[in-house]
Subunit: 201 residues, 2 copies
C-alpha cells in the first residue's frame, strides 16, 4: 500500500476549506497517512487564472453560497460566526502556514485550524500579520518568531511558489485534495477520498 | 409532515444532473414524496444570467470536470459513454419534458432517464427533435405525438417560463433540488437532501 501524504489545498477565505480542514486530518490518520497542508490564494486562481468573478459576487451563486455556508457549518456541527466583511486578505495567514512547515517541528494542522476557527467560528480578523501572530501565540508558538517569519523573503517566495505550483497541477478551488495522485474538489468529496484511499472503485 | 414534491432542476447537457436524476426518484419515494421535474438551460442561466463561460471551457475547472465526470459515473455504478461533442443543444429534450408533464398521464421520470441514458450511457445524439421523439418512442410513447408536441407554441413557451421562473428562484446549476423550500446544488448533496426531508439539522 502506498503511503503518500494526503495533499490538502485551501484558502482561509473559503469556509468550505474550513469544513474539510476540520475532518481531513482525522481521515488521514485513520488510513495511516500524513497530511501536506498547502495554502493557496483564490484571488490568484479564480480571478487571474480562471478569469472568474469572486464567488460571492457571482449572480445567483453568490446568494446561494451565502445561504449554504452557515447551513453546511451546522450540518458538520461547527459553530458559525463569520468575519465581517466575509472577504479579507488571507495572505498573512497563508504565509504563516508556509513558515510553520519550514520550521519542521510545528503542528501545522493545529495552526490551520486555529486560524480558520478564529476567522469563521469567532468572526475575528486574521487579515493582518499581527492578528495572525496572535492566533499562533494562542497555540503556544512564539509570537515574535512568527511575526518575523511573515516578513521573511523566503516565506513570501514560498507562498508564491506554492500557489503557482498548485495552479500548474490544475488546482483551482478550496478545498482541493490530492489522494494518491487523484484530485478531488470540494468539501462534499471526503467520502470519495476515503473510498479512493481504500482502493478506489 | 409536509408532503410537498421534491423539485428537481436539471439540464440534459449536465452529466451531474444525470447522476442525481438516477437516484432522486427513489429517494423521493422512500420519503413518500412525489417529484417535480424542471428542465432548465444552463446556456441561459450560466452564460446569460451569471456571465460565466461554459464549464468545460473554464480554465483549470474544465479539465477537472472532464476527469471527474467519468470517475463519478463509475462511483455511482453508471455506464459512461458520453456524446461527442459533449456539448449539444438540450432544448428539444427539455421541451419533451415540458410536453410530457402537460399530458398528465406520462411517467416523466422514465422519459428523463431514457433521454439522459441515451446521451450519456449510449453516447447518442439527443439534440434533434427526431432523436428526442425516437427516445420517447423507445419507452412506449407515440412518436408522432411527441414530435408534434416539440413544435407546439405552448410547449416552447412552457420551457421559457420554466427557465425564467427557475432563475427568479435563484436556481443556477444542474442538478439543483428544492426540498421543503430548501435549495441544494449538486449531485453530492443528496445525503443532505435526505437529512433535510427527515427533519433537517
Amino acid at each position: 500500500m502506498s503511503k503518500q501524504p494526503i495533499e490538502f489545498f485551501f484558502d482561509f477565505i473559503s469556509p468550505y476549506g474550513w469544513f474539510a480542514a476540520e475532518r481531513i486530518g482525522a481521515l488521514a490518520r485513520s488510513r495511516g497517512r500524513s497530511m501536506a497542508w498547502h495554502p493557496i490564494l483564490l484571488g490568484v486562481t479564480v480571478r487571474q487564472e480562471m478569469g472568474l468573478p469572486p464567488l460571492l459576487e457571482t449572480p445567483l451563486k453568490g446568494p446561494y453560497l451565502a445561504h449554504d455556508a452557515p447551513r453546511s457549518a451546522r450540518f458538520y456541527g461547527l459553530p458559525w460566526r463569520p468575519p465581517s466583511p466575509m472577504t479579507f486578505s488571507s495572505v498573512a495567514a497563508a504565509r504563516a502556514i508556509i513558515w510553520a512547515k519550514a520550521q519542521g517541528n510545528i503542528d501545522t494542522e493545529a495552526l490551520v485550524l486555529a486560524l480558520y476557527r478564529r476567522a469563521w467560528a469567532e468572526g475575528q480578523d486574521i487579515a493582518t500579520p499581527d492578528a495572525v501572530a496572535e492566533v499562533a501565540a494562542s497555540i503556544g508558538l512564539d509570537r515574535a518568531e512568527v511575526r518575523a517569519g511573515l516578513e521573511s523573503p523566503g516565506v513570501k517566495e514560498g507562498l508564491r511558489t506554492t500557489v503557482a505550483s498548485a495552479i500548474k497541477r490544475g488546482i483551482f478551488g478550496s478545498p482541493f485534495i490530492i489522494a494518491d495522485g487523484e484530485p478531488f474538489w470540494g468539501s462534499d468529496r471526503l467520502g470519495m477520498v476515503e473510498r479512493w484511499l481504500d482502493g478506489g472503485w
